[in-house]
């Protein structure tokens, strides 16, 4: 695999990687800054979640771009045989799904005071 191919193949995996990473960062990040959010920066958790929803969706966009530009026309449906396009489509779906999960957690952050125990 050439360096260019390796770089390109990263695009296919972007959504698969970015979505879960963004969600994990949101879960742990908002959890970790609850005390800070309560005492000083009430909107910090919300801002973090919005940023990470966008990060997850960025994974979707990058993988979607890869399916159009780089993955070729190897989407051969039931027979399989197009692993790059396959992974890119997985990236598109994963990015959306995890953006949904982060958005759901954002709703929790909007509704529940970080000071409430």
């Amino acid at each position: 695999m050439t360096a260019n191919q390796a770089k390109t193949s990263l695009l296919y995996w972007a959504g698969v990687a970015l979505g879960p990473l963004a969600w994990a960062a949101n879960l742990q990040g908002v959890y970790a800054i609850i005390h800070l959010a309560c005492e000083k920066a009430r909107w910090s958790g919300i801002a973090l979640s919005i940023l990470l929803v966008l990060t997850s969706l960025a994974g979707t966009v990058i993988s979607g771009y890869a399916t159009r530009r780089h993955a070729g026309t190897e989407w051969t449906d039931i027979a399989g045989g197009g692993p790059r396009t396959f992974m890119a489509w997985l990236g598109v779906g994963t990015g959306v799904l995890f953006a949904l999960v982060i958005a759901d957690q954002l709703l929790a952050a909007l509704m529940i005071s970080p000071c409430l125990r």
Binding site: V16, P20, G81, F86, L97, F98, A108, A109
Partner: protein, 637 residues
């Protein structure tokens, strides 16, 4: 490879038909006799042992469940003392989770994954043998301790401070903690083997989007095992250290934290549920495709769901800790994750229903169990969404509602597909068909027995009956529902007796199975039933996601592997393009000896810290023996 070795290297393209089969069989077979059996590194032999051992533990754990149901069938029963009851429910939970559910899924993977990906043995076959012995010794250690009244009595999650030395001065909690170490070592070993086998030993042409869904599910599961198990191993080891050498990890008076135990345990414990459930979904996808007579609809969606479920499973653990006084926002975050994990599970269920809808279903026993799974798992999933909500969870926490929920999820979500899988793959593993008539009895007994046993527990929980009570008074009004539940439990147990009877009868008198009795589409059905030691005379080439349906009797093959030594073909990760030929290890006694040395080390170290000192040299010696070059063909470059 040296020139001399090159000259005598006969490849399989030089041989044909019976001559090739006989040559490969002589190379790959397990040596005869007891010594040969102890040395075996054949994934099929080890897989069968794993399956039989895990089902033996299922029977033992099931007998404990029946004991508990007899005890609870009436108010103020005195069959079991409170102390024994504590041991019984702990042994039941620990046996089912650590000695049955996880190992049996890995056992099927050990047997099936190499066949499904078209290779001749699993990666690291000696590690595979070692993992089986560790699992066996760990299970025996737990059960022998129980027979000597040293069975753990701290629940399957052994919360501190209950499991600390102060409240549990005997060796019971140590036995539990060290059993964890045994089984986790075994599970981690299998996970490594599965990942490497799937990534590097797939048949040429089996690109990422042609991998059978069961293999995908096991790949995701293996990653879950790799990331979840270290957490519990750290927890159990630190617990032993607290108890043995007076460290203070869980002692708040010295700066420790009891809640740390819950975090470490559930960071493993919740993914554990998916470690059990995800392989079952793989089994469901395989069975559905075969009996619906069409490929599963939404292959990419199912793979996406498996991966997403795998990730999300690591973000739910705090929902087991909603009543520990965490900030509400933190609980809210985990509620969100817990509810949203229903999305990938729902996607899979819609794909399966669509497959049935669009197919031409043949309602044989494996499919019946899959249909039972869908019904029961959906009910369990709905009660799961309920307990993901903090207010509801706070009300029903530690009641029988939760017991009902997790049995619906675990038995419905894993055991029903598993029994379906037994009916489905029994012909491949044993060469004979299971009785369809007994299979239907088995299914209906299991379906009604299960629901009669566990549905009333929802109501009992809402009535306030707590978990882990050894009895209750008549005035509580729980007696009738408990009796009904116990009747259901006996019916459910009978269904397993029918399964056992069916297996024993069919092994002797069942209809002989041909290579592909269900007309299935994946590679394990492309070889004999049961498969020969070498799995395939020639490695198949995969040109389609459903190779046997696409290529039928004319499956293309590759040639060129050695017919002189054990050898497997390594391929690239994404495209499965052939890369190199790799020697595969021969039978060896060292994995067994290493497991024995490790067992002595592990058991000794719950009694004295000096075991670390005197237990290490035997392990080192056996490992040196394991890896010492023998001059055999497997050592040739």
């Amino acid at each position: 490879m040296s020139m001399a070795a090159e000259q005598r290297d006969v490849r399989d393209d030089a041989l044909h038909g019976l001559q090739l089969a006989a040559r490969l069989e002589s190379i790959w077979r397990t040596p005869p006799g007891l010594t040969g059996a102890l040395m075996s590194v054949d994934h099929k032999v080890i897989g069968r042992r794993y399956i039989v051992t895990a089902f033996t533990f299922l029977v033992l754990g099931g007998l404990l469940a029946i004991l508990m149901r007899i005890q609870l069938s009436g108010a103020e029963n005195r069959l079991l003392s409170p102390d024994l009851y504590n041991q019984v429910f702990t042994m039941h939970g620990s046996t089912m989770m650590f000695l049955f559910a996880v190992p049996v899924m890995e056992a099927f993977a050990v047997y099936l994954v190499p066949l499904m990906v078209g290779t001749r043995n699993i990666a690291f076959p000696r590690l595979n043998a070692f993992s089986y012995w560790m699992f066996l010794f760990g299970g025996c250690f737990l059960w022998i301790s129980f027979l000597f009244n040293v069975g753990p009595d701290v629940g399957w999650f052994a919360y501190t401070p209950l499991s600390s030395l102060q409240f549990n001065p005997s060796k019971r909690a140590d036995v539990w903690a060290q059993m964890i170490t045994f089984t986790e070592v075994a599970a981690l070993a299998v996970a490594v083997e599965i990942i490497v086998t799937v990534f590097k030993q797939r048949a040429p042409g089996m690109t990422l989007d042609r991998i059978p869904l069961f293999v995908w599910s096991m790949l995701v599961t293996a990653f879950l095992v790799m990331f979840a198990m270290p957490s519990i191993m750290v927890a159990s080891t630190t617990l032993i250290l607290d108890r043995l050498v007076s460290t203070r990890f869980y002692d708040p008076s010295s700066g420790g934290n009891v809640l740390l135990w819950q975090h470490l345990f559930w960071f493993f414990g919740h993914p554990e549920v998916y470690i059990i459930f995800i392989p079952a979904t793989g089994m469901v996808s395989m069975i559905l495709a075969t009996f619906a007579r069409r490929p599963v609809i939404g292959y990419p969606v199912i793979v996406l769901s498996l991966i997403a479920t795998g990730f999300l499973s690591f973000g739910l653990w705090v929902h087991h800790m909603f009543v520990t006084g965490l900030p509400h926002l933190a609980a809210g975050l985990f509620t969100a994750s817990s509810m949203l994990i229903a999305v990938p599970s729902g996607l899979q269920i819609f794909c399966w229903i669509a497959t049935l809808w669009d197919g031409r279903p043949v309602y044989r026993t494996p499919l019946l169990f899959v249909l039972g799974f869908i019904v029961i798992f959906v009910i369990g999933g709905l009660s799961g969404v309920m307990v993901a909500s903090v207010p509801i969870d706070t009300q029903v926490h530690d009641t029988y509602f939760v017991v009902a929920h997790f049995h619906y999820v675990l038995i419905g979500g894993a055991v029903f597909p598993l029994v379906g899988a037994v009916y489905y793959w029994f012909p491949k593993i044993c060469g004979r068909m299971l009785s369809e008539r007994l299979g239907r009895w088995n299914f209906w007994l299991a379906f009604f027995g299960f629901n009669i046993a566990f549905f009333p527990m929802h109501i009992l929980g809402l009535m306030g009956m707590p978990r882990r009570v050894y009895t209750y008074t008549l005035e509580m009004g729980w007696e009738r529902l408990n009796l009904l539940s116990s009747v259901g439990a006996v019916m459910f147990a009978l269904s397993f007796a029918v399964l056992l009877a069916n297996a024993i009868y069919s092994l002797r008198k069942g209809t002989p199975a041909n290579d592909n009795p269900w007309d299935a589409s994946t590679l394990e059905w492309a070889t004999a039933s049961p498969p020969p030691p070498q799995n395939f005379d020639r490695i198949p080439i995969v040109t389609h996601r459903e190779p046997l349906w696409a290529d039928g009797d004319t499956l293309p093959v590759v040639a060129g592997l050695s017919a002189e030594r054990r050898e497997v073909l390594l391929t690239s990760l994404a495209e499965a393009e052939p890369q190199i030929r790799e020697a595969s290890p021969e039978p060896s006694i060292w994995p067994l000896l290493t497991a024995i040395a490790t067992t002595i080390f592990f058991i000794g170290s719950i009694f004295t810290p000096w075991a670390v000192l005197w237990g290490t040299p035997p392990m080192a010696i056996t490992l040196i023996g394991w890896f010492w070059p023998t001059g055999s063909k497997e050592d040739e470059e």
